[in-house]
């Protein structure tokens, strides 16, 4: 089963009333959708609100999802429409500097603008989390780091990674898991266990 089929499985379950399944889709796509929305909406708090709103709209619209396109394509469309509606509502209220043209967003340097509008606390935490992940990755043995990088950044399948690394698919599966788990072990103290954790 490919990633798209896994998404479809989760959608099927959510359509049968399983909210946990939809929460797994939220966990998977929340940051990708927030990143897309941040190309339209400048303020980081507004990005969070619009992202939440887009997921709720997607949940309500689940009965209309027929699986003709990939779930993420459908979700991104909802995200873009929600962002545009949000900008329209802002325009009606008052013109502010947070409004962006869709065209302008094409050349939008996301990181700089989010730095500008993010709270200092969030910005600090964000940097810490990123540092832990990057330093943990660098500390991994070569074979684990290569396997995880080929998977997450190059988006190769296990079979392709096995061909590149000249090892069985089962070894690739094990290396990727061990790499993730090693990074997660270093990350967990930072993420905390409280219910309202922000990362």
């Amino acid at each position: 089963m490919g990633e798209r089929e896994i998404d479809q499985q989760l959608v099927d379950r959510a359509q049968r009333g399983n909210k946990h399944a939809f929460e797994l889709l939220v966990a998977k796509y929340q940051r990708r959708l927030a990143r897309l929305i941040s190309r339209f909406v400048r303020d980081s708090v507004e990005v969070e609100d619009v992202t939440q709103e887009a997921f709720i709209k997607a949940y309500r619209a689940l009965p209309t999802f027929r699986g003709e396109s990939a779930f993420y394509t459908w979700l991104y469309r909802i995200g873009i429409n929600t962002a545009k509606n949000h900008l329209q509502a802002l325009k009606r209220r008052t013109p502010t500097t947070t409004i962006f043209d869709a065209e302008e967003s094409e050349n939008f340097e996301e990181a700089g603008l989010l730095h500008e509008n993010n709270t200092p606390e969030n910005e600090l935490m964000s940097k810490q989390v990123i540092n832990v992940v990057n330093s943990s990755l660098q500390a991994l043995p070569d074979d684990l780091r290569t396997a995880l990088t080929l998977r997450e950044i190059e988006e190769l399948s296990y079979e392709e990674i096995a061909a590149v690394m000249n090892c069985p698919v089962g070894t690739v599966r094990s290396r990727i898991f061990r790499a993730r788990e090693a990074i997660a072990t270093n990350l967990r103290p930072l993420l905390g266990t409280s219910k309202d954790k922000r990362w």
Binding site: Q15, A27, Q30, R31, D196, W199
Partner: protein
């Protein structure tokens, strides 16, 4: 279980195994933590300059206030649609075959009906310049098969019979 979650999020499990892991995730929400953390790692590796905050808890709270969705599975809809499309295609194919057979049957009857009078008519024709004309232009006829040849032989034979007395 953690290794299975890792393989599941990469889409690298067979269908039965994937469903089993999804069932376990449903039964044990604590395992969502691994799913979320592994995805966070992937998001940071792909986007190392900034990471967005975790919205899943806030969204979960809002989802709890939402009425539960109960919709027909999109897979079932697609299966039904494929069945309907294939049934429609079969009916159309049968209709086409039936229509063609009716057309062929209805065309052959007039041809026969037209040939019979012409045969009768040619028998009553006196041997005159018409048959000479037909023989002279036989090579231009599109029917240069055995059937056409036969009619040519008949015409020449009749012509010679008329000339003999």
């Amino acid at each position: 279980m953690k290794q299975e979650i890792s393989a599941l999020m990469d889409g690298e499990l067979f269908e039965d195994d994937a469903e089993a892991v999804l069932d376990k995730l449903k039964r044990n929400p604590d395992t969502h933590e691994e799913w979320r953390t592994y995805h966070l790692i992937g998001d940071i590796l792909r986007q190392p300059d900034h990471v967005h905050v975790n919205l899943s808890i806030a969204i979960r709270e809002r989802l709890q206030a939402e009425p539960t969705v109960l919709a027909p599975s999109s897979r079932a809809i697609n299966n039904g649609r494929w069945f309907a499309l294939s049934a429609a295609a079969s009916i159309m194919a049968l209709s086409l075959v039936a229509w063609l057979s009716v057309q062929v049957g209805s065309e052959s009857a007039p041809q026969l009906a037209m040939q019979q009078p012409s045969a009768v008519h040619s028998a009553s024709l006196p041997s005159n310049g018409f048959e000479d004309y037909v023989i002279a232009h036989q090579e231009f006829s599109p029917r240069l098969d055995v059937y056409g040849m036969t009619s040519y032989v008949h015409t020449v034979a009749r012509h010679q019979k008329v000339e003999q007395p």
